[in-house]
Amino acid sequence: MSAELDMKEAVPSTKGRTALRWILAGPVTLIGAVLAMAITPFMLPAGASGVGHLVFAIVLFPLFWAVLFFYAVLTERLGRAALVFTAFYALSAVLIWQAFAGS
């Protein structure tokens, strides 16, 4: 059964794709989740007590990780996923850099 499926998925090279998927779902996802947590305070309102954006950034960390992880595991378009992650990293870097430049 697995041989058939491997054949189906064997666009460029199965080994390369598996390796890429491991990298995306592993370290890239973990760092991505930390970045998502880091930029959440910029996106959310501070709320009644001025802490909402900080609290939700930290509380939602496991969820950020899960979303990125299952995206990397389930996607059929690995190339696009790699691009999405790169774009996300770049966006986060810009936002974080801005925060530092501003302060």
């Binding site: 947590m37 001025g50 900080l54 950034a57 509380v59 990780w65 899960a66």
Partner: protein, 525 residues
């Protein structure tokens, strides 16, 4: 219908299986110790011989604290924390926060341990709090909690490890949901006995489906706890406050009151305790005085959860007048959704909101998750019966499965037999020695069935012996405990006896089944 296609489902099986197997045994250790840690405080109370369930602040502590305050360096009056520990003693911690070599802010000061009945000083230690001799009465409970939270590894590595395990459990729960086509329909399916593997699979899926909601909640909140302190706070502080920790603490905890170093008499703590008890309907569990002896002193009183309130509450009092200033949210200065969310994480993870009842439920939820982890591992290994490497891992399943429980009982032995020595050292040693013995036994006994029986018998005997050992090493007998109102001691003793007897009974039943199957097989041959 399944929401995923065949290739995706194949990858999900890989995620589900690999996440469960590679780190599954470690995850099991964290989940089992977590389930037991729900009762860590009760176990601590049991181990120390318990105490009458008197209220923590039944004695007039104010005058006594005044005396003790005379005897510490003035800078340690910056903050004073008072609470009642599991031995029924009152702990008083005069301290301040100073930067250490590594740049980390740590607590330094004097810790008093007072007899809960007459407020006599039992122990006095001074220095960095992380380096004070372990509070020996809490050795057993601290150990269980430390294994659960840090896998007994140093900060922050232990937290990283348990955090990753939490994420792994989360991924196992989610991939399990995605893989299973008819979760609701199959909630009531009876395990099929047509083949051993199918039977195991059905039982794993049943347990997994039923424990799904809380598996998710426990994994999510657990991962939060591990990463919030080790990564979350520093990262958010870095980004949102440009690395200014002080500003972050001010925002999170609320700006400090305007400084006023003029000396001033502290209000009567007894009056404050009476006031807060009346407001909350129950006495506080701890109280903190900041800026003791100064005009800007503030008294914060902490209350545990009540019937109406899932999580604890903090009330603030003016330090010099004792005037009530209002409740204080867990984060921020005003009630907010953020504070409510942070407040909810605790009860959802610890199950400590509804007394013994909710704790029993949470213990069962934890044990159910243990069952899911172990049966999943077992299935994965059985499906790969032809591979030697997997069979080697397979051997580790009963060793870790029973071994962790047996070693925890061993840690209890260490605690009681440490007479004269440092219990916290002996608890750890005994745990390690028992674990090594379990591993040796697991590899020495080749027959799997025999090995499991040996482990069950060891666990049963160990649990039965603990209450006896407790009494033999000077702990109160049942009559004495009953007279002193220490019901928790008897309760935990009973649970140990029942669990131990159940383990022994399972051995004898197993052997009886084996005997009845043997002649049938022989006659069939």
């Amino acid at each position: 219908m399944s929401v995923v296609n065949q290739a995706q489902s194949r990858r999900l099986v890989a995620v589900h299986g690999w996440s469960g197997t590679v780190l599954g045994l470690l995850l099991y250790v964290v989940v089992l110790t977590g389930a037991i840690a729900v009762f860590a405080h009760e176990i601590g109370e049991w181990a120390t011989g318990g105490h009458a369930s008197v209220e923590a602040f039944a004695q007039p502590i104010g005058p006594r604290l005044e005396e003790l305050a005379e005897d510490v360096k003035p800078e340690y009056l910056d903050e004073v924390v008072v609470f009642s520990d599991s031995a029924g003693n009152i702990q008083v911690r005069f301290h301040t926060h100073e930067e250490r070599d590594g740049g980390r802010i740590e607590d330094i000061g004097v810790r008093y341990i007072l007899d809960g009945n007459n407020l006599e000083v039992l122990q006095r230690d001074e220095g960095w709090f992380s380096e004070l001799p372990r509070d020996t009465s809490g050795a057993l409970e601290d150990f269980i909690v430390d294994v659960h939270v840090n896998l007994y590894a140093p900060f922050p590595w232990g937290l990283y490890a348990t955090g990753i395990l939490g994420l792994l459990m989360l991924s196992a729960v989610i991939s399990g949901v995605l893989l299973h086509k008819h979760i609701i329909k199959d909630l009531f399916v009876s395990p099929r006995k047509s083949s051993k593997l199918l039977f195991r699979k059905d039982r794993h899926v049943l347990a997994g489906s039923w424990s799904l909601p809380f598996g998710f909640v426990l994994a999510f909140t657990g991962a939060f706890y591990s990463f919030a302190i080790s990564i979350g706070l520093p990262v958010v502080a870095m980004v949102a406050f440009g690395g200014d920790q002080e500003q972050m603490i001010e925002t999170i905890l609320g700006a400090p009151v305007p400084e006023n170093t003029a000396p001033a008499q502290l209000a009567s703590l007894e009056d404050v305790i009476a006031d807060t008890t009346r407001r909350n309907g129950a006495p506080p569990v701890s109280l903190t005085v900041s800026h003791w002896g100064r005009a800007d002193a503030v008294i914060s009183v902490f209350h545990g959860p009540t019937e109406e309130q899932l999580y604890g509450q903090v009330h603030l009092f003016e330090g010099t007048s004792g005037e009530y200033k209002g409740p204080k949210p867990i984060v921020g200065t005003e009630p907010s959704m953020g504070a409510a969310v942070v407040g909810l994480i605790g009860p959802l993870h610890f199950g400590n909101f509804g007394g013994l009842l909710s704790k029993i439920v949470w213990l069962s939820l934890g044990l159910a998750c243990c069952y899911v982890t172990l049966t999943g591992l077992q299935m994965w290994v059985e499906r790969r019966a032809e591979s030697k490497a997997w069979q080697r891992l397979g051997r580790l399943i009963p060793i870790v499965g029973y071994g962790t429980a047996i070693s925890l009982a061993g840690a209890g032995f260490g605690y009681f037999l440490s007479a004269g020595g440092d219990p916290s050292v002996w608890v750890t040693r005994a745990f390690v020695i028992t674990a090594v013995l379990c591993i040796m036994a697991g590899y020495a006994v080749r027959d799997r069935r025999l090995m499991e029986n040996v482990f069950r018998a060891a666990l049963g005997l160990g649990l039965l012996a603990l209450p006896v050992l407790r009494i033999l090493t000077g702990g109160p007998g049942w009559g004495e405990a009953c007279g002193a109102g220490a019901s928790m001691v008897i309760g935990v003793d009973l649970v140990m006896v029942i669990a131990g007897a159940a383990a022994l009974r399972s051995v004898s039943r197993e052997r009886a089944t084996a005997r009845s199957v043997q002649p049938a097989v022989e006659s069939a041959v």
